[in-house]
Structure formats: C-alpha cells, structure tokens
Symmetry: C2
Subunit: 139 residues, 2 copies
C-alpha cells in the first residue's frame, strides 16, 4: 500500500515539525505576534495606559471579540497587565509590562522601517502586476 505509507510519512513529518515548532522560541512568539491586532494594541498602549473602551475607540474596526481575545493573549504572555477598579460601572485599565515595553520598541522599529520602505514595495508590486498582465495577454 504505497498510498498508506506516503500518507504515514507525511503524518510523521508533521508531528516532528510540530515538536520542532514547540521548541523554537522565535516561532512561538512570532505566531502570537502575527495576530492582526497585537501590534496595534502594543503601540496604542506604548503611548499610555488605556481602558477597554479607550482601546476599542483607538483601534478602529476591531470587534469586541477580537479585542478581548487579543488582550487576554497579551496578558497571558506577560506583555500587559489588567487592573480592575471595582465601581459602578466597572473600570478596567490596561498597561504594558516591562516585557511589553521592550516589545513595543521592536514594534516601533518595524513601523519606522515600513514607512521608510513602503514606496519601494508599492513600486515593486506595480511592476510585477504590469508584467503579469502582459504575460496573461500573450496567452
């Protein structure tokens, strides 16, 4: 049964890969950070603490669900702290931990790089798309 063994081999490769992933620090962290809103939350908080409502105003377009999910993950990873003030109505403040602030440095570096190179990327994309269309019309 060649089919079975081929499948089997891939399964094993995948398991080995997952184990490798679990042990690779940068990949695990990268996976957390690659989530759409993480960097936005971090850079929003790097300018000062914010309440839940403040964050949802600042991050235009975020849904309640994703904001909460992002905040929980960041809290679990030790990037932010969540402080509840018992009152009516309740008040919750979020702020960066030292770890979160050191991440914020990276994020802001990335922003600087992105803004500096965006035009190059734009040009590259236009060139690429023009060539693709030309090749298409030949076919």
């Amino acid at each position: 049964m060649a089919t079975r063994t081929a499948l089997q081999r891939r399964r094993e490769a995948k398991i080995a890969y997952d184990a490798y992933l679990a042990e690779c620090p940068s990949r695990r962290l990268l996976d957390s950070l690659s989530s759409k809103w993480v960097t936005l939350v971090v850079s929003a908080l790097s300018e000062g603490d914010l309440r839940y409502s403040g964050l949802s105003q600042r991050l235009v377009g975020v849904s309640q669900k994703m904001l909460t999910q992002t905040l929980r993950t960041l809290e679990r990873d030790g990037m932010i702290t969540r402080r509840v003030t018992a009152a009516v109505p309740v008040r919750v403040d979020y702020s960066l931990t030292p770890l979160g602030r050191s991440l914020a440095v990276l994020v802001s570096q990335f922003k600087v790089w992105a803004e500096a190179h965006m035009d190059q990327v734009d040009r590259a994309q236009r060139t690429y798309d023009r060539r693709s269309r030309r090749l298409d019309s030949q076919a």
Copy 2:
C-alpha cells in the same frame, strides 16, 4: 427599520476602516509579513541563495502550495528575485533583493529578542494558567 440602519452603519464603518488600512503603510506590510512562512523564507535566504527544492527541505513542514504562495508574494513585494535557468530539469534560484536584506535585519533582530525573552513569556504563561485553574475550581 432600526436593524437595517444599525447594520448599515457597521458596513460603512468597515469600509472606512478598509480605506484606512489601505493607506496605512505599516499595516499593509505587517499583514504580508505576518503570514506564517514569510519570516522563515527570509531568514533562510539571508544565509545564501537557495533553489526551490532547497527551500522546501529547509522549511520543514511547509507544503508545496504555501511555499509557492509565499515566494510569489515576496517576489511581488520586491523582497526576493526569482531566477530561472532553462535546462532539463528546470532550475530556479531565489535570492534576497536589497530590500529583502534590509527586512532580514529586522527579522533577525526579532529572533534575538524572542530567544532572549522566551523564558519570561513561559513563566508568565504558567503563572496565568495556574491562576486560571484556581479560579475555575472555585466556581
């Protein structure tokens, strides 16, 4: 029709948000980079040019589909160049452009940061999970 107008308002908000995204350089770039394999390809190529087969060996666990997709996106963004050598069988070499190399610097910075702080994140997660379990058992 209150339902209709509420929905309408959200639609408009989403459109406005999308427009905002399209104009925000760092977000657009971040979205490309957050893809699972981009950073791995970049850091693999930063150590030297590679052929398609070389990349697929180095990036354990990547499927043909995702590797090709990632390479096309990176090529379109001007991060890598694709050089085809007509022969039998065909040979394709990938290498970083100057733009890609400047990105590779960021990626490697990130790797350094991740490896340096991974243990902190681990501890934070364990603490968080312990507390969550305690609160669960109270309920």
